[in-house]
Symmetry: C2
């Protein structure tokens, strides 16, 4: 038998063996089994993880990233059909899948009149003109569907003025220039990506009179200083000199015309002039190759225009067998800026492989989760998390009542060194448990958890040295779930070895060089990191969908709250004391929370010994599921669209504590003699204490007065 | 045997018989019974209703109304202790009872410097001085604890000016005077109670420059024109000439210093100057006896002052046996203006009798409800529903997650003619079912339901001719439950025969003549109407707490929505059409709701045939319980404290439809050429449609995509 036949035989035997395990262990329970409540099946879990196939993920990615698929383009619509076909497949699809369409306001450059940056002489001669596209190095950059680099939602206009280098365009960067005696009025500010958000660079500049904004990617920030064609992609993972980061410059998220309304055709829409959060001045991103050629007087011509477009979410469901009204949601966006092999197709490739394996089990009648699993492919994320936000608006009540958790995998693999997870505290333990069951890619022999621990760790009072779970900002589609809905959320990926690169993000981010070849050659040859992410995610997913008792560890919120309190006491306490502002109510609230969480954990341990009463289990699960909701206060930050979560709203202060309190404190310190500024601090203190007290009350025995 | 011994024997036998029924039917279920899920027990219900004793209600009322018990006074505190003793009684108390104290801002007149209204001559001589107290006709009016009539929260001051009669002090009343060429600046406006809210009379007047406000009770509005001492109380139920209606003139509800915060000692408090909604001008209520003596130049001296006071709620619980995390709440306020025999002690007398009967069963181990029952005695309602509102703020998350329904019985008996119930539509059917099981007081032989049907009825497309269920405004402690929390709520009382009186409300309302004698002599001799209310309420209460499937008929919301839609189409449609504002989205939303509600009703009928799966029942009950929540939108009416319910927020328009839509329409009609006014109409239309769509989504099958 030739060697390849041996391999075929072995593969076949392995597949049969796996199938046998599945048939043997996950057959529909017989009458006699019905009495035992459905719970997580460890062997099923192992088998499912084993079924996740790196080469299938690789083939998914190849197809997904074949062509540019910016939101609402023809190729985006093709991928909608691809997802629907996969999820409606009779052998490996889900129970149901469908499309949700919203009419949303996007922003595009003009094909006919490309945006241009020119250096002009004093007599009006053009001395230099910026490139309209990236250099065609691998063929993909020459695709006619590649969108010209632009700053989405920046207004059209042709400002011209003296060039001023404004570092990262932060408030303090502009203030520094002003302090140097530089009059910024009418200037064109040249800034580099990073430090502050895209839109903030324009907003800050406009406050100082800046007339036009340029943003480039600095090789020092992204390339570990590599800058020449022969040392950048396709010769390494580094960004070629002509690469330009596209991106949305909208300051909020969701469809800009319909804040708090789902963007159905009939929804109330703001007039474009009434929209808040668009960059106020013409803005254009450029390459570092072009940036270094700019000098003196610069003209920026932007022809962006706003367009109402139909954007689709694709949704699929595996219906829960026992608690179909409890939803574990797992999603990623579908739209890219160009080919988007990394962002977002690496995540979508994983999503499709997970849905295939689970769908196959369901279609074969071998398994059905205890709770419903909802799969989502969001549209128009790149323009501002639009698809996911509109979805949360449309199904707000339903999701708020029934959402157990939201798992986001946007970029699945930034790099192949270690897991990186972000989430709210109740998600920590289930991610840890999952990561301990997955082998790390490579030859270390470590689990994903142990490998992670080597790269990012911290010392936890309760758990000792553990991997660091990051917090969730608003960088991807989890934003509306955590901030607007108060659903326990997480984001999972593989990422960098920070000892080897200081790149702000993977170098070809949002450029025409983010291609399949880039992933295959530099980020994850063999797709083993993709598989490790898939295995970790499916493990988390099944634990959430199938465990009789929800694996959300509320005790981990005690640790967060205690650390927030400690930071407030240490960093804010002295000056608050001088203002007779007492942190005592927050101390009492945190202590009450700690007591309530510990007591509930005790009751859960007791319950674990006898799980036969389905209502008792459901009541405890409701407490666990709804804890995150209790931290919402829709009136806490009225000026910030969608931000209601008192613990995770944007924090501008660098004190890691309750964001409303820290931000108000920072403002008050600037005007220490203004009683109204300190009143705002007191108000935010009350908001924080009330949220923690209210959350504690939900954990206390349900029949306590 | 003398006749009285026969009666004693008969009473004893009846009591034994009742006890037998209870023991026989409601014994703790044996092992074999455990498999059948706990459901409503009709015979228990009948027995409980039979135990409710009119003479006990009478004795409760005698004690409760013995002394003035204005919020936070010593007597109010005594009643807190009375409630605690009753609810902690080892034989007839609840499982637990406790006190919740809030530090709230109240307003009181000065004992040392009574508020005074004077008629002054042009040379400054005082020609007439108003009375500082009501005439002591029955002894109670002479109690030193009777508070001087005053307008709570009206500012202190001594305006003096020409007297102007301004009817009811509505916006149009003042506008009429202005149109007649009368300069209102610096005047004292004399208005009569009714028509618009108390505070509105001052707010409207101040806009026109009115310097001081007087409010009197007109015999035509309250007394069917009776006005002389020999034809008013104690000779009839009519208000004596010296009677003055006290009341709160605060425009919002809840503690004025802590909107959206529970008024704990450490809560953030507004500076008094920053409080919104206080009457802007000195205001004083007066008697009709005094009102007729006023002429020409009038001086109003108000010495009211604001005080922070501790106000208590008393809470008690009977813990649920099966679903302790589902709360049926039943409450009433405790504080009165003076003796408050009718308002609120008639309701509290009923509350105590119901809690006694149910507590006795629980303490004897004879019964325990399926769900938890929470009893509440609210503090400081008269100042603006303060105790109940603070409670909903403190336990917002817990109540929003778990509140099944709130039953309010404030004034239990306005008069003894007929039941009067208000509520949101899901409450209608359970009130009807209960009312059909209670005999109406008097000799008619009718049920409470049939008697009600004779007095107040309407034709329902779904049900034919049925009693009219009123809607809930913000007149009592249900306000925060329905508007802020979105909990299905209702208010139940016995009330007038409108063919016999046109009194705006019972004549001694908020005066020192609202006494036990008044109730016993004129409102409900024999206390049979009190008992009928108690029986109806306990029936509703047990149906909500004990029925396996919640008796909330969501189909009745379909009827409401259809009627709102029809009114919008008929009354607003033509002009909206001219503005190209399409009601189509609202039509679709209502149709979707109707379909979803009907389909859920079908599924419930199927489920009813096999109720053995506790999770299936719980899932449906969650849909029913949470429907009301789905109509909340915290951003719908941002300027109106606490009002989030899209269907029941205050409606100033007289078109009975979605209030936000109707109000915005009325505004736009005033400025038909202002596009921003029509944009607000469009926005409210979207808010309404979104709420109905979102609510429909919660009724659709839980595993629908």
């Amino acid at each position: 038998m030739p060697w390849w036949k041996v391999i075929l035989w072995l593969v076949g035997l392995a597949a049969l063996f796996s199938l046998g395990i599945i048939v043997g262990h996950f057959a529909v329970p017989k009458e006699a089994d019905q009495l035992a409540p459905q719970d997580l099946d460890q062997e099923l879990l192992e088998a499912v993880m084993g079924q996740l196939d790196a080469s299938r993920i690789q083939e998914n990615l190849r197809e997904l990233s074949l062509k540019p698929h910016m939101a609402t383009t023809l190729r985006d619509e093709n991928l909608v059909q691809l997802l629907l076909q996969r999820w409606q497949n009779p052998e490996s699809g889900l129970d149901a899948a469908g499309e949700g369409v919203y009419e949303v306001l996007l922003s595009f450059p003009s094909r006919e009149q490309p945006n241009t940056v020119r250096v002009v002489s004093s007599n009006g001669t053009t001395l230099f003109t910026s490139q309209h596209s990236e250099t065609n190095l691998t063929g993909e950059q020459g695709d006619p569907e590649v969108v010209q680099p632009y700053a989405a939602y920046a207004p059209a206009g042709t400002p011209q003025g003296l060039l001023v280098y404004a570092n990262r365009g932060s408030e303090s960067d502009y203030a520094y220039l002003k302090d140097q005696g530089i009059n910024l009025t009418g200037t064109i500010a040249l800034t580099r990506y990073g430090g502050v958000g895209r839109g903030a660079k324009a907003v800050n500049g406009a406050k100082h009179g800046v007339a036009g904004l340029l943003v480039y990617t600095d090789p020092g920030d992204i390339n570990d200083n590599l800058r020449f064609p022969n040392e950048t992609f396709p010769h390494s993972w580094a960004l070629p000199p002509s690469g330009v980061e596209r991106g949305s410059y909208y300051e909020h998220f969701g469809d800009p015309k319909t804040p708090y309304f789902p963007a159905t055709p009939s929804a109330f829409r703001l007039e474009n002039a009434d929209i808040q959060g668009f960059p106020p001045i013409p803005t254009q991103p450029i390459s570092f190759e072009d940036a270094q050629k700019l000098l003196c007087e610069v003209n920026v011509t932007v022809h962006n225009r706003l367009e109402l477009r139909n954007s689709s979410n694709v949704l699929g469901i595996i219906r829960g067998a026992v608690e179909p009204d409890r939803y574990v949601l797992y999603g990623n966006h579908r739209d890219s800026w160009v080919h988007g092999a990394v962002d977002p197709s690496s995540g979508t490739a994983v999503l499709l492989e997970i849905s295939r394996v689970l769908g196959t089990l369901v279609k074969a009648g071998k398994w059905r989760p205890r709770r419903s699993i909802v799969f989502a492919s969001w549209g128009a994320e790149e323009f501002g998390l639009i698809g996911s936000t509109e979805f949360t608006e449309e199904f707000f009540s339903k999701l708020q009542e029934r959402g157990v958790a939201y798992i986001n995998v946007d970029i699945a693999v930034f790099a192949n060194a270690t897991l990186r997870a972000q989430g709210t505290p109740p998600a920590q333990s289930v991610i840890f448990t999952a990561a301990k069951q997955v082998p790390a890619p490579g030859k270390s022999g470590l689990t994903v958890y142990d490998n992670w621990l080597q790269y990012y760790n911290r010392s936890s009072p309760a758990h000792g040295v553990i991997p660091s779970l990051g917090t969730l900002g608003s960088g991807s589609d989890y934003a509306a779930f955590v901030h607007f809905l108060g659903i326990t959320s997480m984001d999972i990926a593989y990422t960098y070895d920070r000892s080897k690169t200081s790149a702000r993000i993977y170098p070809t981010y949002h450029t025409a060089f983010d291609t399949f070849q880039y992933v295959e050659s530099f980020l994850d040859p063999g797709f083993t990191s993709h598989r490790a992410v898939a295995q970790t995610v499916v493990n988390v997913l099944l634990r959430l969908s199938d465990s009789l008792l929800l694996p959300l560890n509320i005790g981990d919120y005690s640790e967060t709250l205690r650390s927030f309190l400690q930071a407030a006491q240490d960093k804010l306490g002295p000056l608050l004391g001088q203002q007779s502002i007492d942190l005592g109510p927050l101390v009492s609230a945190v202590e009450r929370f700690e007591r309530a969480a510990a007591a509930l954990d005790q009751r859960i341990e007791t319950l674990r010994k006898n799980l036969s009463d389905p209502l008792k289990v459901r009541m405890v699960n409701d407490q666990l599921m709804l804890l995150e909701r209790a931290f919402l206060n829709t009136r806490a930050f009225p000026e910030k669209y969608y931000y209601s979560h008192v613990l995770w709203a944007p924090r501008t202060s660098n004190v890691v504590t309750f964001p409303g309190l820290a931000n108000a404190y920072d403002e008050a310190v600037k005007t220490p003699n203004d009683p109204s500024a300190w009143a705002k601090v007191k108000k935010q203190l009350s908001i924080a204490a009330m949220a923690v007290e209210g959350a504690a009350a939900t954990l206390e025995p349900v029949d306590d007065l």
